[in-house]
Symmetry: C2
Subunit: 420 residues, 2 copies
């Protein structure tokens, strides 16, 4: 397809999504839940079909020599399809934020103002290899009354197509409006740029994937984008930090799972306790197989590879940890604000004033006191589901649940109020 | 200056703004109010200086043959400087949203989660001729703990410089951090493009001005932008509309002030009452000097210039009104969603079900029942001040007060919670 053909095909999808969004915004919660149940049922009914479509992607991926982790992320079996369907069941059980009155008040002239949650409208989701995102993202957007355009990775094209078709077909049996969930039906790369220009029809783009993809979307999109580039999370062991808690939280934050955005990447240690705490923490980390890259002062206390300036801004996503000794709480905060990614940063301390200063001083979506960074997560926060974690500050920050997929509208009722 | 020089000068300002923002976020409400009072005092003390600077802009404007309305918007006298200072006094009296706990809850594992309002951080304001925006915008952003970079119109450069200098100098006497309020100290046009690339340092850009300026910012900005393009507001006279109220609200919405975004541009009339209501409404509008452009069916009932397709998407900002007859509530909603600008749309009706369907069906920031579109305004809503009206759906929609200049942060306190 030429770029112009891609553009006009994407525009057609986007225009249709807008039309669908006006129907979606009028659906009640019960009908949306009936549609969701029908989607889950159809996904289960089409398990064999979906697994067969996935086999095509796997075969093509093997031919293209995709890495084993990539193939693992791509692969579906009956159990994974069931897990996707179960995800839908869970979304059925979540409360619907649409229609909630956030605030209401009456003005001296008698106008009654309601600030009411409404769907955002139309959302483009651009994502990479995991085919379950096709369902997870579409279903959360649907529950909140939004129409979606899905642009998955080309390596998962057959899988994504089969999943999206099941959602749409299942949903339609319960009245899902046409074009509510549309997967871009071709793999041309220029469809990403085309989506970014659809600000007339698309209210929001959520890119989920590597930094390159997100950079492309940020530089091209004319509509709002909600994203997170990376998670360079810090744990600060304060002068008043309990030793056992320091060990526990450093080890959990770093090693419980490494390839995730809320894993620890840099440990900051107050110089007042470095001599006592750092060796004890390092011992357990090293036992767990963690490679330590330390600043000069760290290396005077424990064995460590010398850390470079680059280490302070690197998301390892691996069993590697950078360690720096700082002389004050303020130095820790400054380091985090300068080198971090404004995702999640935690302090270990028994000093309430230090904790408060850290929490209000760090410019991060999630700021923790005596809690593992791994708990920065929609499920852990109790949101029931998570569409992603935002390191932006506008609209949604941190873990995003259903509420973050809504906008609001001022509904004003009066009896002839005018301006004089 | 070369483009590279402009870029690096703007980057310096942006980096300094980020540093200032970390100090601003730590100021308490009392200190911020003391700073605001000192700003107002300094503005008043420098009245003669500001008016003299303004005279330079006016002289240059006259030489450049700026239109009379533009010169009027540009002109400052002692009274206008006093009005700017009074605006600051009013902001002192507004409650400070920073630090408010929006929600708090405890998880089964004992983590206490607070969702707390915090400043956004750094905000770029790009605006056109009115020099009062320099103070109005900077002061609202300051009250909410944000650092600002101001990029005013070149025709107001001397006035803006004098006002910004007064704010900074006055504020510093009470501890305003350096670089909290920075005006770009040159008029090169490429500073707008440079600001749009500062996503590392700037969290938000708010463009205020004509469509061309906003288009430029939207297409270039890598960070979030809050804007409104235009206000194509509708009033729908429903089948169950009271005649007197229809006349009152149509006349008020259209004629109370015309050059504003919440003025009426299109009147939709239900065919069931067109024969009775339309002539009566038109009579008063014509008396007030309004030119009517009507659809074919309108022109069978009243005198009107033929409306073209373009009229349905034109913001006249003048004594001109397009009028269309529709056969149903749904047709009115569809027309508004298709041709409107998602700003403010109002229904006149005595039918509660029709009103509810209109309010939930229109995809607009403000949806009104029996209220003049002119009341879509931060002051009228009781926000005390308004930084602008957003027709976007993310973060802020409709009139934006102080609260819309804040973000939030999840502050989580625990006693060793980890992920297992």
């Amino acid at each position: 397809m030429t770029e112009a053909e891609v553009f006009s095909a994407v525009e057609e999808l986007a225009r249709n999504a807008r039309a669908a969004s006006y129907k979606l915004s009028q659906l009640g919660t019960d009908q949306k839940n009936a549609i969701l149940r029908a989607m889950a049922a159809e996904l289960r009914a089409r398990t064999a079909e979906i697994v067969a479509a996935n086999a095509l992607d796997i075969a093509a991926g093997e031919e293209k020599d995709l890495s084993k982790p990539m193939l693992d992320r791509l692969r579906l079996d009956a159990g994974k399809v069931e897990a996707i369907a179960k995800g839908i069941d869970q979304v059925v059980d979540l409360p619907d934020p649409v229609g909630q009155v956030m605030e209401k008040w009456t003005r001296p002239n008698g106008m009654h103002i309601h600030q009411t949650r409404v769907p955002i409208g139309t959302i483009g989701i651009i994502y990479e290899s995991r085919p379950n995102v096709t369902s997870d993202a579409a279903v959360l957007c649907f529950k909140t009354g939004n129409a979606t355009i899905l642009r998955g990775g080309s390596e998962a094209f057959h899988s994504n197509t089969a999943i999206a078709a099941a959602l749409q077909a299942g949903g339609e049996t319960e009245g899902l409006p046409a074009h509510s969930i549309q997967l871009i039906p071709f793999t041309d790369r220029s469809s990403v740029s085309a989506l970014c220009k659809m600000d007339k029809w698309l209210d929001l783009i959520i890119p989920r994937g590597g930094k390159g993809l997100i950079e492309t979307v940020v530089s091209q999109a004319r509509m709002p984008v909600i994203k997170h580039y990376d998670g360079i999370c810090h744990l600060f062991v304060d002068a008043a930090a309990d030793l056992d808690m320091s060990i526990k939280l450093a080890v959990n934050s770093k090693t419980q799972k490494t390839g995730v955005c809320n894993a620890l990447e840099t440990l900051l240690v107050h110089s007042a306790v470095a001599a006592t705490h750092l060796p004890a923490i390092a011992e357990v980390l090293v036992e767990k197989g963690v490679e330590i890259r330390g600043c000069e002062r760290t290396r005077q206390i424990i064995d460590a590879i010398p850390a470079t300036e680059e280490d302070w801004e690197t998301e390892y996503l691996d069993l590697i940890l950078s360690v720096k000794i700082v002389d004050s709480l303020q130095e820790a905060i400054d380091h985090i604000n300068t080198h971090g990614s404004h995702h999640t940063d935690s302090i270990v301390t028994g000093d309430q004033a230090a904790a408060d200063a850290f929490l209000s001083g760090c410019d991060s979506a999630c700021v923790f006191h005596n809690v593992s960074t791994r708990l920065a997560d929609g499920e852990e926060f109790g949101f029931g589901a998570e569409i992603g974690i935002s390191t932006d500050k506008l609209h949604a920050r941190g873990p995003m649940g259903l509420r973050e997929l809504t906008s609001y509208q001022y509904r004003v009722r009066g009896n002839g109020q005018a301006k004089w």
